[in-house]
Amino acid sequence: MERAILLADMNSFFASVHQALDPSLRGKPVVVGGDPERRHGVVLAASYEAKTRGVKTGMTVYEARRLCPEGIFIKPQHHLYVHFSTRILRIMRDFTPLVEPFSIDEAFLDVTGCQKLFGSPVDIALALKRRIREEVGVTCSIGIGPNKLLAKMAAELQKPDGLTVLGYEDVPARLWPLPVRELFGVGPRYERHLKFLNIHTIGDLANFPVRILRMRFGVYGEVLWRCANGIDESPVDPHSLERVKSIGQQVTLPRDYYRLAEIKVVILELAEKVAERARGGGYAGRTVVLSLKDANFAYLSRMKTLPAYTDLAADVYRAAVELLERHWPEGWPVRTVGVALAGLTAGPPRQLTLFEGREKWERAERACDYIRSRFGERAIFRAASLTGAGVRYAG
């Protein structure tokens, strides 16, 4: 039986949340992004009123201000967006349990089995749009297709507040003329590779010999070719987001740091946060990733695989510092520092160790988690954070 899949994409989600909360913002150019006091703030979302002035997601706040001086600039408040997103997902789950959150403002719904209850996919999409608009105050675009790929492509075709159905029979007429970069899964790098093969539109890709794509790009070449032909068998997986692969923290420094000793303080703070989040979710990981950017955004990202799974800041810190000392020359300015724990798995067996008093450390870090959860972020932290290099508890 042909499936019926919906992709609901909230329009200008962050900006819409603020407009929903504050009626005086409705109909006005609202720009969410950056932190006015910090550097390198970028636009995370812009209302349609701001978008008509040329404001785009990803441009700097500075640039946005120049394009739209009368815009209302709002600092992002993530807890609000998470709250709204949860409310929207709850409405979706009234229609089907097969809801797969795809990002904070997008979700797939498999409505194949609930058409007897709620009517055709178009009826369901209309009802969903109405409920989200009335109960949450946000509009969305919905794409309907026989699989996730076509639903996603359909939702892109009409924004804002759109409703588009894309069946297999529509693929040649509606998808094939589009430039190949519009295809889900084709990034700038693949776009370049494909151009090299004289593939410019989705149709060029769909009609290209799959054998050659497989030879050049491996399995992914075939996946792209199937996508271009509108074929996608992946199921709507309600638990996909629960499988976290990595947990990372990143910070832009208030000034450039030159000394490794200062950078290490920041790494320690990030490592503690990363480990705290991993423990909070019951995860442990084996790969530590350190990423650093200098003033010109020269980028360095290096990883190290640990001998055993960990959720301890001490291990994350030690590995990240080893990467720092091995790969970053002292005296080079650092502007952004990121630490991540990857290769995560939930509740893995834990190899015990000799000599290191590891069990004690584990208890100590868990005790800190508890103290912070009860008495707040600043209730307990490392003395190194007071040295002036610290950023997490500064000010």
Binding site: R243, G282, R286, L306, P307, A308, Y309, R318, A319, E322, G343, T345, A346, G347, P348, P349, R350, Q351, L352, T353, L354, F355, E356
Partner: protein, 374 residues
């Protein structure tokens, strides 16, 4: 420098020193092998600064001298030459060396020998010697427990403890620990603790002979240790630092002891680990009075292996990393294995029954919680 040698002999000599030479050494001259013709010998030296191997072979020397030849060319060329006498000729004031074999010739550009770093003097107040086969076997019993994590250099080495009448070798990666005691025929002049890089000892184990006659002379210097075995000399830098107090972690009392057939447990472990996760292959050991059950359940399926055991003490369930168990059992080198447990979350000891000279200690894993997902 001029000398003539059989190809076979040269190839073997290069094979001895080649392993420590990296073709991409940061110091270009170290990407070569030092050839020195002296008296009636050819001495080959390979080094990475921390570890140096030297090997002397008899050749017909016509003119003494030395040159450094890049390993990536000399090693493969010698391997591919026909089996005829090979003649080396380095022109004076030059690093180019002409190699003549039969009616053919080739030439390799090398480095002048003066550029080669000066090797440390073989000096040290403490010397002792051991049969090569004994040291080789002992090293194989501890090297598996050496850590490969450079973050803590101490654990990438083996602790050598010289005590009256005895040498103790200890290696640990903090997950397991191996301890081997060797009797010394002569008393060492004093007690001494050294940490010797595992990589160097791997070379010692590789180059030591299996026959009984050969001896290894060990010379302990302040920063270096030297191994002299026939024509082979191995120089290694020591690892600085304090090895942890390992005696304290070796349990003396046990809750459960089981005597097992080594091969049976190894095979069962091997099979069980095929169903376990690759990146953390933990399997469960259940010790009962007459048997040991080795089992694991994962998303892929489950397996339950039962092997004979002569057990004493309480029944016990404990989880181990399958790889650690396999390596530990293999290092025992005995038909039977004694597995002694102190609890499900504390150290276990493996030893050959009735042999006090060797043990390895292994820490269990905390079992996975609930449905363990990748």
């Amino acid at each position: 420098m001029r000398f003539t040698s059989e190809r076979e002999k040269l190839a073997e000599a290069i094979g001895v020193v080649q392993k420590v030479v990296s073709a991409r050494s940061p110091l270009p001259v170290l990407s070569g092998i030092l050839f020195e013709a002296r008296g009636s010998s050819l001495i080959l030296t390979g080094s990475d600064m921390d570890l140096t191997i030297q090997y002397a072979v008899d050749v017909e020397v016509e003119e003494e001298g030395a040159v450094v030849l890049p390993v990536r060319y000399i090693a493969s060329l010698i391997r591919h030459l026909p089996d005829v006498p090979v003649h080396f000729h380095t022109l004076p004031e030059s690093a180019s060396t002409v190699i003549t074999y039969g009616a053919s010739q080739l030439s390799i550009h090398g480095f002048e020998a003066e550029q080669y770093p000066v090797l440390p003097q073989i000096t040290g107040s403490v010397r002792f010697s051991l049969p090569q086969d004994l040291l080789k076997a002992a090293l194989r019993q501890v090297l598996f427990a050496v850590s490969s994590d450079d973050a803590r250099p101490i654990f990438t080495g083996v602790l050598w403890q010289l005590r009256p009448g005895e040498l103790r070798l200890v290696a640990t990666d903090t997950f397991r620990l191996a301890l081997r005691r060797l009797n010394l025929r002569e008393e060492p002049s004093r007690e001494l603790d050294l940490i010797v890089p595992g990589k160097a000892l791997g070379e010692v184990a590789r180059l030591a002979g299996d026959e009984e006659e050969g001896e290894v002379e060990v010379v302990c210097g302040d920063n270096h240790i030297f191994f002299l075995m026939g024509g082979v000399k191995i120089y290694s830098r020591l690892i600085a630092g304090q090895f942890p107090m390992y005696e304290q972690v070796i349990p003396r009392e046990f809750v459960t002891r089981a005597r097992l057939i080594t091969r049976e447990v190894m095979e069962a472990t091997e099979r069980a680990s095929l169903l376990a996760k690759d990146n953390l292959p933990v399997i469960q050991f259940t010790i009962q009075e007459k048997r040991c059950i080795i089992s694991v359940q994962t998303q892929a399926g489950w397996i339950r292996e039962e092997v004979e055991a002569q057990a004493a003490g309480e029944p016990m369930e404990v989880w181990f990393n399958a790889r650690f168990i396999s390596e530990g059992l293999k290092a025992l080198g005995s038909e039977e294995a004694e597995l002694s447990l102190t609890g499900p979350l504390s150290a276990a000891v493996l030893r050959p029954p009735g042999d006090e000279s060797y043990l390895s200690l292994l820490l269990p894993a905390k079992p996975p919680r609930g449905e363990w997902e990748e």
